[in-house]
């Protein structure tokens, strides 16, 4: 063991004095209701640990292993959307991709053919008007950034509306698409 390791061990052997009961009581009073939000269930002193079924020693590790495998599966399927960012507010866009669906009945159909088939004119449409409607905002609580700093996470639910108007045929087509945005707002530590 090197001198430094010995010194580290020696220092670690010195135990800082525990907070006094008065101080702990002060902290408890200052915490108020926040102190009782998270509770841990400790074993009743009257309960007899020997009564625990031996089968539990088999099922608990098995259950934990199953949970771990399931978590790894979920992690691979759905990469975390809470990636770290340096800005106070981080916008996390939903992943999207355009795929050419070869099985679609419209695949390979020209605009003229489409006009004949649908009876909807191809030309003469006005520029589409778009509108974003906020449905609700959900405060999802405090989350950890990768840096270890806390941030409050808000999830916004929108409906994006697009209206196409064809004045000549008095045709209107309204498309609605649901969308979510997640915002992370950095919190001061105190």
């Amino acid at each position: 063991m090197s001198d430094w390791e010995e010194l580290e061990k020696e220092l670690a052997g010195l135990t800082p004095r525990a907070p006094s009961k008065d101080f702990s009581k002060r902290v408890e009073d200052a915490l108020g209701e926040a102190g009782s939000v998270a509770m841990r269930h400790t074993p009743d002193p009257d309960s007899d640990p020997a009564r625990t079924s031996p089968s539990i020693h088999f099922w608990i590790p098995l259950g934990l292993a199953a949970l771990l495998v399931f978590s790894l599966y979920l992690f691979n399927q759905f990469p975390s959307e809470l990636e770290d960012g340096n800005s106070p507010i981080t916008f996390l866009p939903e992943p999207s991709s355009m795929v050419d669906d070869e099985d679609s009945p419209l695949h390979g159909v020209t605009s003229e053919q489409l006009e004949d088939l649908s009876g909807v004119p191809v030309d003469g449409w006005l520029d589409p008007s778009t509108q974003e409607r906020l449905i609700r905002r959900i405060d999802e609580g405090i989350v950890d950034r990768a840096t270890g700093l806390p941030a409050r996470q808000y999830r916004y639910h929108f409906i994006d509306e697009t209206l196409w108007t064809h004045p000549a045929s008095e045709t209107r087509i309204l498309s609605t698409t649901p969308r979510q945005e997640v915002y992370l707002i950095d919190l001061e530590l105190y």
């Binding site: 020696e10 907070p19 902290v27 806390p150 105190y190």
Partner: protein
């Protein structure tokens, strides 16, 4: 049947002493250490308490920031001036071990004699049990700076403690 117990109590029993030690280093006056810990812990627990898991690094960091703010605050300075200020050695923050008391007292005097920036790194590493990375984030320092300050601190302790044991004064105390 189970007895529900607030999680913060177990958390505080585990980390409270270390937080107080760090707060004592950060506070300009020892009397402020408990106030610092209380304020920082309550604020962080109100943010995170519902999860039942709070990283000690967050509380250390909050203590440090509060200490800086309080040092600037005129109000607190006025309150402090009204208090009877008692200088207490670092050893008063530790449990006594009579068997090795002389050696321990010398060690703690040497820790107290360290430059503040080295002392706080040493405290977070040894008693706070934080990694260098966590210390870097707590003190807003690079990993290399933290590691080198820690090495300097250990070297100074190693050099100075035998001198103290022999009854020679520490350079900073002379």
């Amino acid at each position: 049947m189970n007895n529900p117990e607030p999680i913060w109590k177990a958390w505080f029993a585990k980390h409270g002493a270390k937080l107080l030690l760090f707060a004592r280093q950060q506070a300009r006056f020892p009397d402020d250490a408990e106030d610092l810990v209380q304020e920082a812990f309550v604020r962080i627990w109100r943010l995170y308490g519902h999860t039942g898991e709070v990283s000690p690094g967050l509380v250390y960091r909050a203590i440090r920031r509060l200490a800086i703010d309080w040092a600037r605050s005129l109000d607190r300075r006025r309150i402090r001036e009204e208090k009877v200020y008692l200088q207490s050695p670092l050893s008063s923050s530790f449990d006594r071990n009579l068997e090795r008391d002389e050696r321990n007292q010398a060690l703690l005097r040497a820790v107290e004699g360290l430059p503040k920036e080295q002392g706080e790194v040493l405290t977070l590493k040894i008693w706070g049990e934080l990694t260098f990375d966590e210390i870097g984030r707590t003190l807003d320092l690079s990993l290399n700076t933290v590691a080198s300050r820690y090495r300097y601190a250990l070297q100074k302790l190693k050099d100075s403690v035998p001198r103290e044991i022999e009854g020679k004064p520490h350079p900073k105390q002379s």
